[in-house]
Symmetry: C2
Subunit: 144 residues, 2 copies
DNA sequence: GTTAATTATCTGTATATGCAGATAATAGAC
DNA sequence: GTCTATTATCTGCATATACAGATAATTAAC
């Protein structure tokens, strides 16, 4: 039996396939980050703050393409663990600026090589060339 | 400034990119399915039951590559809405078999054209050829 | 300068997701 | 036949996700 590719079958739903791949791959990264107790989502958020400096919710939301309300709660998780903190300033009282704490930066330094190992392995197996192609297509599909 | 593609930067985390794309695309499908009040995840689950018939959690888990505990709760949502029901049988008392209810099939029939419209549009914009390629790569990355 | 429109964030609510560990039922070892 | 190992599912817990609507602060309109 040859299972032909029928793009109009729900099995080929673009959303389903993307979510499924994301689920599977996320577990690999979560496993790699386990020693520092970070999930891939948390690592991403921390990395965004470390690499781009203190930011407000809107900037993070734009950078990570994540709903602001989601960020409020995801940041709360990191905040409770003391990895980030507020950096208030007094130009616009509505704006909340968050930044990594010293502990947050320390954890990030520990997490980075763990993440690198997983990313490296992933790219080695999957292929760097292919990843460049896949990344391009993911970018494209986001705008379709 | 040319932003060169650095695959070892956290911005290029395979997990992050997949989740981001999945988030964005999911919203498109959710919008398309809004008239019947189904989310893309729920549509996928319902479709799996309609197309493959009554199944137990383990079979669904394998087919959708989703943790069994996740399915228990996702099925609960559909069950509360009366779209699926249990189809107990008495060979192995541990096994729970679920199937679509008449209402579930009715909703599915209403949802299918809505999903098809979104899928069609997605493929038209993104390109059918490219989707075949992307689907292949997503499959591959799941096994990397 | 007060009122209205806009903007940034948060809260309430609901779903999606999976790990650890519990429970119950079946199969295997002897 | 009993005891043990395995298997299928569920519960407790925690996080990820976003829509609708609330709140508070700023800006625009007049």
């Amino acid at each position: 039996m040859t299972t032909s590719f029928d793009p109009m079958s729900p099995v080929c739903c673009v959303s389903f396939r993307l979510r499924r791949a994301a689920r599977v791959v996320a577990k690999t990264y979560d496993a790699g980050l386990k020693p520092v107790g970070l999930r891939n989502t948390q690592f991403t958020l921390l990395a965004a703050l470390v690499m781009n400096g203190p930011q407000n919710i809107g900037q993070l939301s734009h950078a990570l393409v994540t709903d602001g309300t989601t960020l409020t709660r995801n940041l709360e998780v990191l905040s409770k663990r003391g990895l980030i903190e507020d950096a208030r300033y007094h130009e616009d009282e509505r704006v909340r600026i968050v930044k990594t704490s010293p502990q947050g930066e320390a954890i990030y330094r520990q997490a980075l090589p763990l993440w690198q190992t997983t990313q490296q392995e992933m790219l080695d197996v999957f292929g760097r060339e292919r990843w460049a192609d896949l990344a391009d297509m993911l970018q494209l599909v986001e705008t379709s």
